[in-house]
């Protein structure tokens, strides 16, 4: 039996606007999503902001009801058996909120330990064990309101593990962390994976998914765009070359013209102050650069380079988003 399974899961939000005459609008946050996660797998869900990752994870953690399809966790339907799922899963949405800022780290864990029905005699030893795991023991008596972003993230992780669940959900666990903190957190996630936990994490960092995950799904606008192992996803762009050109003053109209060229597969634009970095994916290798330069007309051009496509390029191609 899979640990997690979604069958055509969908979620529609209804939003009303206006004061006297109220207008209802429907937003499809997740649309016909299907995938499975095997027991013991470290599974990544990738997508840009607004793709539906958080909505999906909230459905999986019984905090949001799917409006269509079926979502099953640990063999139980989230819509009908939420109470049976909750003791079996742990989740960390991270961020600045989600902790009692007037309590210290230790008391936060003790409080949640009560909510998770730990045996009273087990609470203190378990709390100390987790404080050691996340390296917060020496700061455990300080109020959470004084914790850094990274410390809060580690405390979220500790809280998630209090009742030693086998299925874990992590929503963008390393966002906002400095590189050292992020690396430490990824190592902790690897350790949990080694201990046999089933882990589903969401991220919009491709390299993180590549580094950690057994399998990945890429979602965009609530839909499944691709799924597979990191190697399988890289294969999507195996025959592509990426030409990076730095330009000054490229208008959206010009970029659309470049996109429309017959040898261009996709264009991603990164705004860097007054410059734009165009990343053009193309099946033609050596000829691409001169032809692209010719298409830019008299636009001022900075550096240009040609390289092989990476997993990140595969992701960019799939989501097709201008950054």
């Amino acid at each position: 039996m899979n640990a997690i399974a979604l069958e055509n899961a969908g979620r529609v939000y209804r939003v009303t606007t206006g004061f006297v005459r109220r207008h209802a609008k429907e937003i499809q946050a997740v649309d016909g999503l299907s995938f499975e996660v095997a027991r013991g797998e470290l599974f990544g869900m990738l997508g840009p902001n607004g793709a539906g990752k958080t909505t999906t994870i909230k459905m999986l953690t019984t905090l949001l009801r799917p409006t269509s399809g079926r979502v099953v966790v640990a063999g139980f339907d989230v819509a009908r058996n939420a109470d049976r799922i909750r003791p079996l899963i742990g989740f960390a949405f991270g961020g600045e909120r989600g902790l009692y800022y007037r309590l210290n780290g230790r008391d936060n864990l003790r409080y949640f330990a009560e909510l998770y029905r730990l045996e009273p005699s087990r609470i203190n030893p378990r709390v100390e064990e987790l404080l050691d795991l996340v390296s917060l023991r020496d700061r455990a008596d300080e109020r959470v309101e004084g914790y850094s972003r990274g410390m809060k993230q580690r405390l979220h992780l500790a809280r998630m593990l209090l009742h030693d669940p086998n299925i874990l959900f992590l929503d963008e666990p390393t966002i906002g962390l400095d590189p050292v903190g992020a690396r430490e957190l990824r190592e902790t996630i690897r350790e949990l994976h080694r201990r046999g936990k089933t882990i589903l994490l969401t991220t919009h960092y491709m390299f993180e998914a590549d580094e950690l995950c057994d399998r990945i799904v890429v979602i965009g606008k609530g839909r499944l765009l691709a799924s597979g192992t990191p190697r399988e996803l890289k294969a999507l762009v195996r025959d592509l070359t990426v030409v990076e050109i730095e330009v000054f003053g490229a208008t959206p109209a010009l970029i659309d013209q470049v996109r429309a060229l017959d040898f261009v597969d996709s264009v991603a634009v990164e705004q860097r102050e007054l410059r734009q970095l165009l990343r053009v994916q193309t099946p033609i290798a050596d000829e691409a650069l001169p032809r692209l330069l010719a298409s830019l007309g008299g636009l001022a051009v900075g550096r240009a380079s040609v390289r092989e496509a990476t997993l990140e390029d595969a992701y960019v191609r799939l989501v097709g988003k201008t950054e």
């Binding site: 019984t62 909750r86 949640f112």
Partner: protein, 260 residues
Amino acid sequence: MIHALRVLRAAALLELRYLAVNRFMLFCVFVQPFFVAITTMFMLRRGTVFDPTYVVIGATLTGMWSLLLFNSNWAIGGERWQGTLELTVGAPTPVIVVIAGKLIGTTLLSFVSMVVCYAVGAWLFGYSITIADPVTFVPSLLFMLVGLWATAMLIAPLGILWRWVGQILNVFEYPIYMLAGFLFPILMLPTWSNPASWILPPFWGATAVHLSSSGGADVGALLGIWIVLLLSSAAAVLLARPFFGLILRRAIADGTLALT
């Protein structure tokens, strides 16, 4: 059962830590009853039915109810604002137990109103504030608090579903003061409103507390009032349970557990 008691205790202590620094709640428990007591003292002291103990008790009850009312919403609204409501709902312990514990903590804090109102009557105005029958007053007061807590449990779930409920909560403040007879008997109200008073636990609590503090009822009558008070409180809690469940299911369906 033991887990539930531990959660009640943990939630009560957590709530007390937050209430102690919440200016609005401190307003409810200190400032409001202070002003209500002073105003009512001035209003009634030259009248023919003036009883300073009645005013002190009545003003205390207004402070207690206001604190419980507003905190019944903040108990949930605060969790949402801190980002912990989803974590609380997502835990195996039913949310109703957590909220019950928080409201127990709130009830404990509400005793401060009694001290404030006593100070107004005894020190500011110099009246002799005495309890006619302390032996029946203590259980009357305790059962009254149970009644207020049970009533607040019915209102608390509304904050899960609609964030704006907290902004109009005032609408439940004065009606309870009036229907429960905190500072004047319900004889002052139209008779068609009496059934609304009779179903409210605070009405029976206020009746018991006023009778035992100002005198005028024997133990037999009070016993009957206590029984009705406890039964109506139990009914309120029994009603709150499915209400919580219904509201939570709706909130999960609508996606209103988080701030965004």
